[in-house]
């Protein structure tokens, strides 16, 4: 059929991890768009690195053309598939929240480096001094945004956006290290509950490779 011919072929290459690439995976799934979920092992990477023009992952290939930068990719797919707000201002808010989430990743990263044994350090100290303050600082804001949006299980507007998916994944990852961290943010948890209740997403979460992050 002509419509299938018109659709580009998509291949998403990333290490065997969820990270920010997972947002794009779930956008493909939510929109019912076929894509190749290409996972590269750390052992394979040195030999493959040259093939990826920007020397980093994830990379989205659209009809064979490589594109790096996880959030730029997620935004592009969100726009293509309709998960980018109902108007330009909503879209801008979704982007602002995603950039704020990136700041959160920077703030909490040192805790994960220690907790995952990549860097020497006292995990309990890192939890108290790095992780918990970072969660409080950013999630107080996200909780307020979700409430100000009407506590309708979305952060922006009345439909799923890529930011809903992003936070849903963050909560999942961090909760596995620090259970109960998000109990103080029920409106955020409601967004996660709504995302994960979508049948296609629920099914994906059950069958996807189980990774720590």
């Amino acid at each position: 059929p002509v419509s299938t011919l018109a659709m580009p072929s998509y291949k998403l290459s990333e290490f065997d991890t969820r990270g920010l690439a997972e947002v794009s995976r779930q956008l493909f799934i939510l929109s019912g768009t076929p894509y190749e979920d290409n996972r590269i092992s750390k052992d394979q990477w040195p030999a493959l690195k040259e093939k990826y023009g920007f020397g980093e992952l994830p990379v989205l290939e659209v009809d064979g053309k490589q594109i790096p930068q996880s959030l730029a990719i997620a935004r592009y797919l969100a726009k293509e598939f309709g998960f980018y707000g109902a108007n330009a201002f909503e879209a801008a808010w979704i982007d602002a929240l995603a950039d704020q989430a990136k700041d959160f990743i920077s703030d909490i990263h040192p805790y994960f480096a220690i907790a995952m044994g990549m860097v020497a350090g006292d995990t309990d100290k890192a939890k108290a001094e790095i992780a918990l303050p970072a969660i409080k600082k950013h999630f107080d804001l996200f909780e307020k945004v979700a409430k100000d949006n009407g506590s309708n299980s979305h952060f922006v507007g009345s439909n799923f956006s890529y930011f809903d998916i992003l936070i849903s994944e963050f909560v999942f990852s961090i909760d596995s290290f620090l259970p109960g961290s998000f109990d103080a943010f029920p409106t955020v948890l409601a967004v996660r509950a709504k995302v994960t209740s979508i049948p296609a997403i629920k099914e994906w979460i059950e069958k996807r490779p189980k990774t720590v992050t």
Partner: protein, 206 residues
């Protein structure tokens, strides 16, 4: 006031300049609200993320500099001519931000000359040499006529040109290895309407 737009930021270029340039290039009037530190301390809690810049559109606030730049660029036609071009503008901007975050501590270092030189050599130069070849590659594959992406001015052109002009003033020679980038920066800064703004804007150190 009947102005639709207000940009709230400190009286510096910093993370507000690209937004100001977009308004000027589009010929759209806006309130350029340059606030003091004491004004900020009372305003902070009333902003979405406790940070500046903040853009107000018909009284509705928007935070995060790149979200603001992208929003204005899309409204005014400086975001690329297709979804794929807009994507490459975003990719380039994100790459640029990662590089700038790495290099900032080295550029801003105030200490001994020796420590500064070490930071430049061990931090700034490797960050530059990781990013600028990618920028050249992007410009070659996706840009034309003196632009990094596409054939007309985009917000990432403005972002990179602003950064490069600071480097050219404070660290001359730092970008000598990247003449194609410098040529594009030069073309951007020579855009007549932008040149007008550069000449009349308030003069601040950064």
């Amino acid at each position: 006031s009947m102005l639709r737009y207000k940009l709230i930021y400190f009286p510096i270029r910093g993370r507000g300049e690209v937004a100001r340039q977009l308004f000027y290039l589009a010929g759209v009037p806006f309130k350029d609200d340059r606030i003091t530190i004491s004004e900020w301390s009372s305003l902070k809690a009333k902003t979405p993320f406790g940070q500046l810049p903040v853009l107000e559109v018909d009284g509705h606030q928007l935070a995060q500099s790149f979200a603001i730049f992208r929003y204005l660029a899309q409204e005014f036609g400086f975001a690329g001519d297709s979804p794929l071009e807009a994507l490459w503008v975003d990719v380039t901007a994100d790459q640029h931000k990662e590089y700038e975050n790495k290099i900032k501590p080295a550029l801003r270092f105030q200490g001994s000359e020796e420590e500064k030189e070490q930071l430049m050599r061990n931090v700034a130069e490797p960050a530059r040499d990781k990013y600028f070849p990618l920028l050249e590659k992007i410009a070659e594959e996706h840009g034309s006529s003196g632009h990094f992406v596409g054939a007309s001015l985009t917000w990432v052109d403005l972002l990179i040109a602003e950064h490069a002009s600071i480097l050219l003033k404070q660290f001359p020679g730092f970008l000598d290895r990247y003449p194609t980038v410098l040529a594009i920066v030069d073309a951007i800064l020579s855009t007549p309407k932008l040149k007008e703004w550069l000449e009349k804007r308030p003069d601040t150190a950064f």
